[in-house]
């Protein structure tokens, strides 16, 4: 496949967001006035940082020696044989320090916090990967770290809770609402309202008010850029299909963004299909939701006719969220990215298959993308290349999977 030069594309899909944080009609900034000044400050700090060679080289240095980048592209030989179609490759974000892509964003934002003179960091976490990555960055830079985590997630992702504490972070369980990621974000926002002058909120996904969706996407885009470089040197061309799981959507945004201006590369985002397509049984806003406002931006969301956020379910804590990043909504409506969903059961099967066929234990979140990839690869030709973003490792899920299967 010839590589399309981005400049020749008339309407560049990558030229977003605008100055108000709009991705097409999505995005924006719907927050209490108390946070407006901090978001403006963050936007300025970020604009200055990304053109500051010292900032860029410090972050690149950390990506190399601290995170272990670039992460490799692994040919999944036995899985490819089993699927009997396209060649399946894993982009190994699971080999990053702390075991997931989340560290790319937390290091970048921690450096921004330091530039802004803020020494207290708060974060929300679902699966705990973002919490661990935030605690790690804070330990590295000597910043105070408080992580809000839904009480239900504290239970089902306890290995990550221990890791955060070992790194010196304080984990605050959130007992309100559904006691999951959405409630953790609410609590982190409330903390930020009262502490905004001394605290930076490191949001963990491409969600929230402008400029967060842009900043998180940019820091995560290293995933897609490395994938492009690696494919060009290994195959002399871009892959045919790239797939990633989508909760809030940060690994997918980071993987897809460098590809969006290459229209020949098929991009597929996989949401959590949960138990069924009934409301409350899944966490797939791009599949079943409507445009609405949640946590500061306009995007697809699962809500009732009044606008109350719906209950959601996923076996994976990291995907158990009723909203999604605004740029995904933009890509969905523009048709650039296909979004689909995979059930709890299919994700669990894929978890087993990849563990046993490849010797790689994927996160339950990632297992959703893997389930779709194996299915899709079987219908593609052996000349085709399919890359899965292996967003995180699954050690954290081992105990919960055993519990679900009654093997505790």
């Amino acid at each position: 496949m010839p590589r399309v030069h981005a400049e020749v594309v008339d309407h560049k899909l990558s030229a977003v967001p605008d100055s108000l944080g709009r991705f097409g009609r999505f995005g924006g900034r719907y927050v209490p006035e108390t946070l407006s000044a901090a978001l403006n400050q963050l936007e300025c700090a970020y604009d200055e940082a990304i053109v500051d060679p010292a900032f860029v080289s410090e972050l690149e240095g950390l990506f190399g020696a601290f995170v272990g980048r670039p992460t490799p592209l692994l040919f999944a030989k036995r899985l490819t044989e089993k699927a009997g179609g396209a060649q399946i490759y894993f982009k190994r974000e699971d080999l990053s320090h702390t075991g997931a892509h989340k560290i790319n964003n937390t290091l970048g934002q921690a450096l921004l916090a330091i530039r802004m003179g803020k020494k207290r960091i708060i974060a929300e976490t679902g699966a705990g990967q973002h919490g661990v990555a935030t605690a790690t960055a804070c330990a590295r830079f000597g910043l105070e770290c408080i992580v809000y985590m839904g009480a239900e997630d504290v239970r089902r992702q306890s290995p990550n809770v221990r890791t955060m504490k070992l790194m010196g972070a304080e984990v605050r369980p959130v007992e309100s609402g559904s006691r999951t990621l959405r409630d953790a974000i609410n609590e982190a926002m409330r903390d930020w309202m009262a502490t905004v002058e001394t605290t930076h909120y490191i949001i963990g996904s491409v969600v929230g008010p402008h400029p967060f969706p842009r900043i998180v996407r940019d820091f995560q885009s290293v995933i897609g850029r490395e994938t492009i470089d690696c494919c060009e040197s290994l195959f002399g061309r871009l892959p045919d299909t790239v797939v990633a799981c989508v909760g809030g959507g940060s690994n997918a945004a980071g993987m897809f963004y460098p590809f969006v201006d290459y229209p020949d590369v098929r991009l597929v985002g996989v949401e959590a299909g949960g138990r069924s397509s009934d409301e409350g049984d899944h966490a797939a806003p791009l599949t079943y939701g409507t445009p609405g406002i949640l946590h500061g931006s306009l995007s697809y969301v699962l809500q009732d006719l009044d606008g109350q956020t719906a209950d959601v379910h996923s076996v994976s804590a990291g995907l158990d969220y009723p909203g999604v990043g605004p740029e995904h909504s933009y890509w969905r409506d523009s048709g650039r990215v296909d979004y689909t969903s995979v059930t709890d059961a299919a994700a669990l099967d894929a978890f087993d298959m990849v563990a046993q066929q490849e010797g790689v234990l994927p996160a339950l979140e990632t297992s959703h993308a893997l389930a779709w990839a194996v299915e899709a690869a079987s219908e593609m030709s052996p000349e085709e290349i399919l890359v899965v973003c292996m967003s995180g490792r699954g050690d954290k899920d081992a105990a919960e999977i055993a519990r679900l299967r009654g093997q505790e």
Binding site: G28, Y30, V31, P32, E33, S36, I293, G296, D306, G307
Partner: protein, 277 residues
């Protein structure tokens, strides 16, 4: 026919009249906040009547929302109780019309923009106007995103009360004050709603500065929990907003029958504190 004439006045006009009456009587405005539908719709209407009789100038009716990021524990729990009891937008507008049939006190809906956007701006404002609301306070809608709602409210004569906070820079505060209709909501502290034992440093100076910059009345809210604090603030502002303290007072009432009286007595204390300022 005077009540009928009153109904034909715009929301903004009704608020203006209410504030003018306060001024004429030499007192500051008191605007309590209560949650629509906590514990139920009938009790909410009874509470509104009781606080109107106690001398409240206007009242904010909190529209329960599942993810209220600007609210502290007291109001958040109140919203959860109301939603669990089956509260929805239709019932909220029903409360407003039931009250409007018997009382003049202007009501403002304190509603998350998530709810307004889902219904549709035009439709939400239309339903607000039809039910007899005087206006809206939208705590999660900053200046930059507010043009559409602003236009619709102006068309319908409903107030769109805007908020300035301690973190708002002066230039921006001026712009917010200029575009606020009904009154200007001065948030006393950086933080969520909830009671606080002391007023923040610098609040009084900030109110005095805003007073010079604004043509509409300035009401101060967030963290005001006692008659004493209300008196201090009322000395320099046009009025006070008391939310969490009222909601907690209702929470502590023995049963649904005693709630309206509890609300009335508490609001009466606040009204007294704001007399002869």
């Amino acid at each position: 026919m005077s009540s009928k004439d009153g109904k034909q006045q715009t929301g903004i006009k009704r608020l203006e009249n209410a504030f003018a009456l306060c001024k004429a009587e030499g007192r500051r405005a008191v605007s309590p906040f209560i949650t629509a539908g906590d514990p139920d719709c009938d009790t909410t209407v009874a509470i509104l009547k009781s606080i109107s009789a106690a001398g409240a100038t206007c009242c904010e009716l909190g529209v329960p929302y599942s993810d209220p990021i600007a609210d502290g524990a007291v109001i958040q729990s109140s919203y959860t109780r109301a939603l669990n009891a089956g509260m929805n937008l239709e019932k909220m507008f029903g409360i407003v019309s039931s009250f409007r049939e018997v009382c003049e006190m202007p009501l403002l809906a304190m509603a998350s923009y998530s709810l307004i956007f889902r219904t549709g701006i035009e439709e939400f404002v239309r339903r607000g106007e039809a039910s007899g609301l005087a206006g809206f306070v939208v705590p999660d809608l900053p200046l930059e995103e507010s043009d559409d709602l602003d236009r619709q409210c102006r068309k319908s004569g409903l107030a769109l009360v805007r908020l300035v906070t301690p973190t708002t820079p002066p230039e921006r505060a001026r712009e917010i004050a200029r575009r606020s209709t009904g009154f200007l909501y001065c948030v006393s502290v950086a933080g969520v709603t909830g009671e606080r034992t002391a007023l923040p440093d610098g609040l009084i100076d900030r109110i005095k500065w805003l007073r010079k910059e604004s043509d509409v009345p300035i009401l101060v809210g967030f963290g005001i929990s006692s008659a004493g604090q209300a008196r201090e603030v009322a000395a320099v502002a046009d009025g006070v907003i008391v939310g969490s303290a009222v909601v907690r007072c209702l929470e502590e009432a023995r049963d649904n029958e005693s709630i309206p009286n509890a609300a009335g007595s508490f609001v009466q204390e606040l009204v007294k504190a704001c007399e002869a300022c």
